[in-house]
């Protein structure tokens, strides 16, 4: 589970969410690029990182609108074929963000939509990761979100390690630092008179 120290969690919370301010805010005009004064008006639409939006939501200062990656267009695409949708371009932290957004937004169907998308793609991940062929991998793995690609990598690396072991060879590996030849010639330097 993500925690305070989890790097992926921290990076995920940087994702921008568009919010609508419910109250006017003074002195933070920096957040709204369209404001002339140093204030944010009531009802202004601003893009904030998730951690800020979450805090302001708890103080009931903003209302959070559904991010673009959960829009109807994405839903249609995922319903058509879950495995081919390139989720990394839309939002590399698709699932984590969705999980965090669910209690905050009024749209209640996000949770089941995430579950549906994940189940669909999971089958593909399962079959592709265990086949351990180098060819099909690059095309498919660029479409996965961070969480899915961790899953994929875990399976693939353990499969590759097994294949490597099966081929045989000595159990002792030579340290890579020994492979480089040491330079025995002194590099030429200008002679100082």
């Amino acid at each position: 589970m993500p925690g305070y120290y989890d790097i992926d969690d921290i990076i995920m919370e940087e994702e921008p969410i568009s919010v609508v301010f419910q109250v006017g805010a003074h002195g933070v005009g920096l957040l709204d690029p369209g404001s002339e004064t140093n204030n944010v008006e009531n009802g202004a639409k601003v893009d904030l990182p998730f951690w800020l939006a979450h805090e302001l939501y708890l103080r009931q200062a903003v209302s959070i609108s559904v991010p673009a990656c959960f829009s109807q267009k994405t839903r249609k695409e995922i319903q058509a074929d879950a495995a081919c949708v390139d989720l990394r371009i839309r939002c590399p932290y698709f699932y984590e963000l969705g999980c965090k957004i669910v209690p905050l937004v009024s749209d209640k169907s996000i949770g089941s939509f995430l579950h549906y998308a994940f189940t669909g793609r999971y089958k593909e991940i399962l079959s592709k990761s265990h086949s351990a062929s180098v060819v099909t991998v690059p095309k498919f793995s660029t479409r996965l979100t961070k969480e899915e690609s961790q899953l994929f990598e875990a399976a693939r690396s353990s499969m590759l390690a097994f294949k490597k072991w099966r081929l045989g060879g000595s159990r002792l590996e030579k340290a890579s630092i020994l492979g480089r030849k040491r330079k025995t010639t002194i590099p030429a330097c200008p002679s100082t008179p």
């Binding site: 999980c99 579950h115 265990h130 875990a154 353990s158």
Partner: protein, 211 residues
């Protein structure tokens, strides 16, 4: 294990599982005479030429490399037994046949070091490969069916190396499904009768093997 930068990945690497497998006992037929070996893990009795004795696999391989013995193939590694196991694996689509826990590692070690002691070497090798493929395919098809309701996955008679391969993937997949399928994520529509308490739906038990 040692030196793993990411503790979430597999606990054992493949050579480590092989190392653990070397503790299995095998029968050897020494061709020299040697007195008893007293080791920390046990005493391995005096060796007389042509008298079979049981030793751990690591000792057997060490003696074999020095040309001091021949290794007798374990009785599960004969062509008839393996053909039986392969047939049974192919027939039952959900069960795994009982095989020695370290059969993959033992067979690989014997192929590498004692290939002249095994009758029908190529046949045995291809049979073991086929058995391994069929079992792994079964594991994969079983994994396709897990969902958020799966509380535990039971895999009976799976061998050490196979478990080691699927362990990181399965752990993460179960965690991911648990996160996505928790009741607060899938919020039921409020039109259901509110007075009825929602008991936790445990769902069907997902065994990869029927009890």
């Amino acid at each position: 294990m040692a030196g793993q930068s990411n503790p979430d990945l597999s606990v054992f690497s493949a050579p480590e599982v092989e190392f653990l497998a070397e503790d299995e006992m095998v029968e050897i037929v020494p061709n020299i005479r040697m007195e008893a070996l007293n080791m920390i893990c046990g005493d391995f009795g005096p060796f007389f030429p042509q008298i079979a004795s049981k030793v751990p696999l690591w000792l057997a391989v060490a003696l074999k490399k020095r040309g001091k013995c021949t290794i007798r193939t374990p009785e599960w590694m004969s062509v008839e037994r393996l053909t039986q196991v392969l047939e049974a694996e192919r027939e039952s689509s959900r069960e795994f046949q009982p095989l020695p826990f370290h059969y993959v590692e033992i067979s690989r070690l014997l192929f590498d070091h004692a290939h002249d002691d095994i009758p029908d070497l190529y046949m045995v090798r291809s049979l073991i490969e086929d058995i391994r493929d069929v079992r792994f395919h079964k594991v994969e098809t079983g994994l396709e069916t897990i969902s958020g309701r799966t509380h535990a996955v039971k895999l009976k008679n799976l061998s050490a190396m196979e478990v080691n391969i699927v362990r990181p993937f399965m752990v993460r997949a179960l965690q991911a499904f648990y996160r996505h399928d928790s009741p607060q994520m899938i919020q039921q529509p409020r039109t259901m009768g509110g007075s009825r308490p929602q008991a936790v739906d445990r769902g069907p038990r997902r065994d990869l093997r029927p009890r």
